[in-house]
């Protein structure tokens, strides 16, 4: 069934969109990531204009992370105080990111910026995760399931001023690192159309030293607001949020996330992380390939500048 999207102004198959939403939903349920980093490139691929794909994906992430955070609130695994500090950084970052996005759009380089951001961040995160999870797999094969938990390293984070107590996380640290982490994720949300969970989660564990059980819920909590703010900014400055596209992706996404969560419980954590790392590296490799190899068509038609 073909459906005409009012803002993207293209006609696409509705079942394809629901299916894509479902597929990415399964992955996001299995791995606990928003899935924006997969969905946005897939939307480019099926012919949605990049500006619309980025803005609409932000809107979709609001829904999936809201759904997720409700479950975490019930389990009391959200550090609201830490989330609020991250959020303040995140909102500033989102506004900054959109300003960069629009400036490069004027110069005709927004596509390059989006792709480069994907290659750099997916490459770094994918490689780190791959190395870490392969090492964990080997360790568990050698020593068995019982092993000492990794010691948290906080060194420089401890020495900064403006310290604050975060009870849920059991931390007493400076507010500067969480503000900076939030800022970075906010910039990424606006430029890449992603929630930024794939950056935020490792940063919370390894930089801030938060306990793993509150990381996902707290990350989701602040992502709702940052992507919500990003959606509003894109809607009011560029008119590029396609609500019909968002609804179709959502339908598949919420169902897929549930299926994915069940699948995820049958696999071991390290195996899941190796799979996710491989997936991230494949997406990164494809985008890098497109940047490095001479394209078949050197010209492209962009939207007009107003």
């Amino acid at each position: 069934m073909q459906i005409y999207l009012p803002i993207a102004e293209v006609s696409v198959n509705a079942f394809l969109l629901v299916g894509l939403g479902g597929l990415v939903g399964i992955l996001s349920g299995m791995f606990g990531v928003g899935g924006g980093f997969l969905m946005t490139p897939l939307l480019f691929f099926i012919g949605i204009p990049p500006a619309v794909a980025v803005a609409t994906e932000a809107n979709q992430i609001v829904a999936s992370s809201f759904s997720g955070v409700l479950a975490h609130l019930r389990r009391r695994t959200v550090d609201l105080r830490m989330g609020t500090v991250l959020l303040i950084g995140g909102l500033v970052g989102a506004a900054l990111g959109l300003a960069i996005f629009n400036a490069l759009r004027e110069m005709g380089q927004v596509d390059l910026l989006v792709r480069l951001s994907y290659v750099v961040f997916l490459g770094i995160v994918g490689a780190l995760m791959f190395v870490e999870s392969v090492r964990a797999l080997r360790r568990s094969a050698r020593v068995g399931p019982t092993q000492p938990p990794r010691r948290r390293q906080r060194g420089w984070v401890q020495s900064l001023p403006f310290r604050m107590r975060f009870r849920t996380s059991g931390l007493y640290i400076s507010v500067i690192p969480p503000l900076l982490v939030g800022l970075l994720v906010g910039v990424l949300a606006a430029i890449m159309g992603v929630g930024g969970g794939f950056i935020m989660v490792p940063a919370m564990i390894y930089v801030l030293g938060m306990p793993t059980k509150v990381v996902i819920g707290t990350s989701l909590f602040q992502i709702i607001f940052v992507t919500g703010f990003t959606t509003l900014l894109h809607a009011t400055t560029n008119q590029t949020v396609d609500v019909m596209l968002a609804v179709l992706l959502l339908l598949g996404g919420v169902v897929g996330a549930q299926v994915g969560t069940r699948l995820g419980t049958r696999l071991r954590g390290e195996q899941l992380r190796v799979l996710l790392a491989a997936l991230v590296l494949v997406v990164c490799g494809k985008l890098a390939y497109d940047l490095l190899v001479q394209p078949a068509e050197l010209y492209e038609i962009g939207e007009a500048e107003h």
Partner: protein, 244 residues
């Protein structure tokens, strides 16, 4: 059909003197884009009088829209947009004729009436000598995507006085005032022409959402957020039920 009959009657009633003329109409004057729009075919038909059997060219064009064409070049090992040109070009352009255009249309007539594609695209701002390759690229890309079409055998002549052709509009059509032009050609030159309009509009939900997004962007943005929150809430609630 009634319109078609009326047209024929009109032409038959007219004095068949030396005048060489063409009149035409479309089987519909407007195209509505709703959420199930998947492309549409419109019929262009009409009648003509000419001293000798003429060649006929029919064009259907979308409204001219500004577009930026960018050319990639290698900079520091990666392919980036390096040069650009601004043009004013229709998002849709179809040319149908009784025979391939190279054989029936002289370059002078083509230039004067802007019939074929490079002439129908207007260059707005580009370096001298640059604009040609950019316009050619635009035509090449849009021809490949089906937005620009050219069919050298699509116009059918019936009984030496009537003609008809079907133009397929693609599913990713944009809004605007489209124009259909009909040219009567003899030995490469235009001897008569006729133009009629086709209105393409979004309707229903498509129109509502598009207008809301552009007229009240804040309301539209808040609505998008509300839908997302409601969907997330609903999903969490439903899954909660399944778990119990």
């Amino acid at each position: 059909m009634i319109r078609a009959l009326g047209l024929v009657a009109l032409l038959l009633a007219a004095p068949a003197g030396n005048a060489q003329e063409v009149i035409a109409d479309l089987d519909q004057t407007s195209v509505s884009i709703d959420s199930t729009f998947a492309g549409q075919e419109i019929l262009v038909f009409g009648a003509f009088t000419a001293d000798a059997p003429p060649d006929i060219v029919v064009t259907v064009a979308g409204p001219p829209e500004p577009a930026t064409i960018r050319r990639k070049a290698r900079r520091m090992g990666i392919w980036v947009n390096a040069a650009q040109a601004e043009v004013s070009a229709p998002a849709f352009y179809a040319v149908a004729s009784t025979a391939p255009l190279d054989a029936i249309l002289s370059p002078a007539a083509d230039l004067r009436h802007a019939i074929t594609l490079p002439h129908a695209v207007r260059s707005v701002a580009a370096g001298p000598g640059q604009s040609r390759s950019f316009v050619e690229a635009l035509v090449r890309i849009r021809t490949a995507s089906g937005a620009y079409r050219r069919d050298g055998e699509a116009v059918e002549v019936i009984g030496g006085r009537l003609f008809r052709t079907a133009i397929a509009l693609p599913s990713d059509l944009t809004e605007g005032d489209y124009a259909a032009r009909i040219f009567l050609l003899s030995e490469g030159a235009v001897i008569a022409d006729y133009a009629t309009a086709l209105e393409v509009r979004k309707v229903g939900l498509e129109r509502f959402l598009y207008r809301l997004a552009h007229d009240r962007p804040l309301v539209y943005g808040l609505m998008s957020l509300a839908i997302a929150i409601a969907a997330g809430w609903g999903a969490a609630g439903l899954f909660g039920l399944f778990r119990r």
